[in-house]
């Protein structure tokens, strides 16, 4: 089934790396010298208490202008993305699933994806309209999204769960190589969460994508098998390990990590 694992240029695009990254919001430094390597096919979980800088970090990955990179670098393979605008990052294969996507009056999922499809620079292969419609229909069905939903203004009157599903739908259609999913587990009930994670798992298997989940809730562990787990406290990654780390959080919360850096 892995018919697209060997991609053109895959040698240069098989890793996303941030190196010594510091990020400011306004005057305040929120992320301090974070380094992280996400390779194709890997699944990372970034955990930390509220306000530890997780959303800021992935926002900076995607180039959102309110998150200013004050030091360090971002790279996709050998390509530097530190100064690239968001649209360029998207075009090279990055994707951010928003925790709170904004309302887009008049823009439906269908029109967004159809226009994205027509852009040569986008991550999507310019497959034909009929094929596009079929793929979209299938992806929506897979996520349990009603057809009528596709033509509504994005996020206007969407429930928390609908917003998350719409983010995942866009991911499936835009086909990124690396995706950052911010708090995908908030607002989704267990059944819906399972459906979304199944879809992501299938996508990852097919495209060999690298996934980074951001969460403060260790129960995500029940449905995701991470290759790496990072604990972020006050803007720093204080520990990187495997799923044992999540078990520890599930058991004792973040308290063990809140002590001095020596850990």
């Amino acid at each position: 089934m892995k018919k697209r694992t060997v991609k053109k240029n895959s040698s240069s695009l098989h890793s996303f790396r941030c190196h010594n990254l510091s990020v400011q919001v306004g005057e305040k430094q929120v992320v301090h010298s974070v380094s992280l390597l996400l390779r194709s096919g890997e699944t990372h979980i970034l955990m930390g208490p509220n306000g530890s800088g997780k959303s800021t970090l992935v926002g900076a990955f995607m180039g959102l202008p309110q998150y200013k990179i004050s030091r360090g670098s971002l790279q996709l393979g050998k390509m530097s993305l530190t100064k690239a605008p968001s649209e360029k990052r998207a075009a090279t294969g990055l994707f951010l699933g928003f925790q709170n996507p904004p309302v887009l009056p008049g823009v439906s999922a269908l029109s967004l994806l159809r226009h994205a499809r027509s852009m040569k620079s986008s991550g999507i292969a310019p497959f034909d309209l009929k094929e596009f419609a079929a793929i979209l229909k299938r992806a929506a069905a897979q996520l349990g999204i009603d057809q009528s939903f596709l033509t509504r203004s994005l996020n206007e009157g969407f429930s928390g769960g609908e917003k998350k599903k719409s983010e995942i739908l866009q991911l499936l259609m835009l086909r990124p190589s690396f995706a950052f999913l911010d708090e995908i587990d908030s607002g989704l009930d267990i059944d819906a969460l399972k459906v979304c994670l199944d879809a992501l798992r299938a996508y990852q298997a097919q495209q060999n994508a690298g996934l980074l989940f951001v969460t403060h809730n260790p129960s995500l562990l029940r449905y995701v098998t991470p290759t790496h787990v990072h604990i972020m406290i006050r803007g720093r990654i204080v520990r990187t390990g495997t799923r044992d780390l999540m078990d520890l959080v599930a058991d004792k919360g973040f308290a063990p990590f809140l002590k001095p850096k020596a850990l």
Binding site: P85, E87, R89, F95, P102, V103, P105, G106, V107, L112
Partner: protein, 472 residues
């Protein structure tokens, strides 16, 4: 030195995507001297060999024009210099029935706009007005045989004086407003349509209005009569070259929708931004009749236009759907008016406006439900989208309800394009320009999708072009 806002505006105007701003060299057949006077009015009437009653109407209207003050509400009209305007310019000897007979320069102008091509593809008839006169007119033979009349207004006055006299100025009298008076005094060109009882004109009839010279005044007069149980869709488009001196377009449109008939009047107004567009449009709808105004205003310096419907027969329905886009130095003051004068009548007014780059849009609407209009239903929705902090949008709705059984609903929203929404789209691979064009098109779509397909495609493209000039 930083670039001043004024310079920026000038630059953005120079590179603005108005594609219809070219000029054509034309050897005019006749031109009245600049400015307005009784002599000019007499000259126009004489050129046209009109019956005496029309000259009398014109002269009376001129006095009304002089007597009425400039409106002080709506847009700023103080810069209009009525003395510098050409009120009558005749570009050709007469209207052509065959495209080949149109003078080459004028033909080329309309070919650039795509008129004859459109006619071949999807229109039942075409009229083309250049300056003051209709230079080309055609109607499918089939429709002519069924008794449909589609003529330039001047031709109609010659060929069917009795009908014209019966209806002319009865819905929009010269005394209605200063610009209706001006139009009545100096009118020239426009369309006349008569659809006989029970005849359905399936494909649209189209008229295209072109202003070519600087300081031109265009005053076409349109009269549409849809007899009982008939239907017709009339589409008008317009454009002009860009000049530093202003031109004036002031039309009057009167539409009579008889019992059980249906008329749709679609406008795609794309004047260059040196044109004052001050138009009076009114329709009356008899029992079971249906009138639809679909009014898209993209161009002009200032538009003041409020298509109106008088629902005077039981169960008559009226719809006014409008889209207004105002960019740098533009003001679109538009909306609609509905008078419910009979029982069981219903009306819908939907207005969508977009302001950007310092542009201003205003919705101005009036709905009046008279005492006899039992069980009237009214729905008014106006939505505005503001693209940047220098742009502006206002709403001036008026409702006068004199009948307790009326059902009235009114909604208004103002949305700003949020920085957040643009950034979100950028993370999906869109540039800032493309992102705002996506939002603008999405916002306009409910109106745009009601246009005939060919126009919808063109308008979507136009909105995309408009946006590329405005961001960054």
């Amino acid at each position: 030195m930083p670039v001043s806002q004024q310079t920026k505006t000038r630059i953005s105007r120079t590179i603005s995507p108005y594609r219809l701003g070219f000029r054509t060299k034309v050897h005019e057949v006749f031109r009245a001297p600049r400015g307005l006077s009784e002599d000019v009015v007499r000259l126009i009437s004489k050129q046209k060999n009109e019956p005496a009653w029309m000259l009398e109407k014109r002269l009376a209207a001129l006095q009304v024009f002089y007597a009425k003050p400039l409106p002080t509400w709506g847009g700023d009209l103080s810069a209009i210099d009525f003395d510098s305007i050409y009120y009558y310019v005749k570009p050709t000897k007469g209207g052509a029935k065959r495209w080949e007979d149109v003078p080459p320069n004028i033909k080329k102008t309309f070919e650039k706009i795509g008129i004859p091509e459109a006619e071949r593809k999807y229109l039942a008839g075409v009229g083309s007005q250049f300056e003051s006169e209709v230079v080309y007119h055609s109607l499918q033979e089939e429709l002519r045989k069924q008794g449909v009349i589609f003529l330039g207004m001047d031709d109609a006055l010659r060929a069917h004086p009795a009908i014209v006299r019966k209806y002319f100025g009865t819905l929009v009298p010269a005394s209605d407003n200063k610009f209706a008076a001006l139009n009545t005094a100096v009118w020239s060109g426009g369309s006349f349509i008569y659809v006989p009882r029970g005849v359905h004109v399936v494909l649209p009839l189209q008229a295209y209005f072109r202003i070519n010279r600087q300081s031109m005044g265009q005053f076409e007069r349109t009269l549409i009569i849809a007899d009982e149980g008939s239907s017709v869709h009339y589409v008008e488009g317009c454009s002009a070259p860009q000049y530093t001196k202003d031109s004036l377009h002031s039309a009057v449109v009167e539409i009579f929708v008889k019992k059980g008939a249906k008329v749709q009047y679609t406008t795609i107004q794309n004047w260059s931004d040196n044109v004052y567009n001050l138009v009076t449009k009114r329709a009356s709808a008899d029992q079971d009749a249906r009138m639809i105004w679909l009014d898209c205003n993209i161009g002009s310096k200032l538009t003041m236009k409020y298509p109106s419907i008088i629902l005077r027969g039981r169960n008559a329905r009226g719809e006014i759907q409008s889209l207004a886009v105002a960019g740098s130095l533009q003001h679109q003051d538009a909306g609609g008016k509905v008078i419910h004068a009979a029982p069981d009548t219903s009306s819908t007014i939907v207005s969508r406006s977009i302001s950007r780059d310092g542009g201003r849009t205003s919705y101005r609407g009036l709905v009046r439900i008279g005492k006899a209009a039992r069980n009237a239903t009214v729905r008014v929705v106006c939505d505005a989208l503001i693209l940047d902090p220098s742009s502006r949008s206002d709403t001036y709705p008026t409702m006068i309800v004199n009948e307790a059984s009326a059902k009235v609903a009114h909604e208004a929203t103002v949305a700003k394009i949020s920085e957040e929404a643009l950034q979100y789209l950028q993370t999906r691979g869109f540039t800032a320009t493309h992102a705002s064009s996506l939002i603008v098109n999405g916002f306009a779509e409910p109106i745009v999708q009601q246009l005939p397909m060919e126009y919808a495609v063109e308008l979507r493209r136009l909105l995309e072009l408009e946006m590329t000039g405005s961001v960054g």
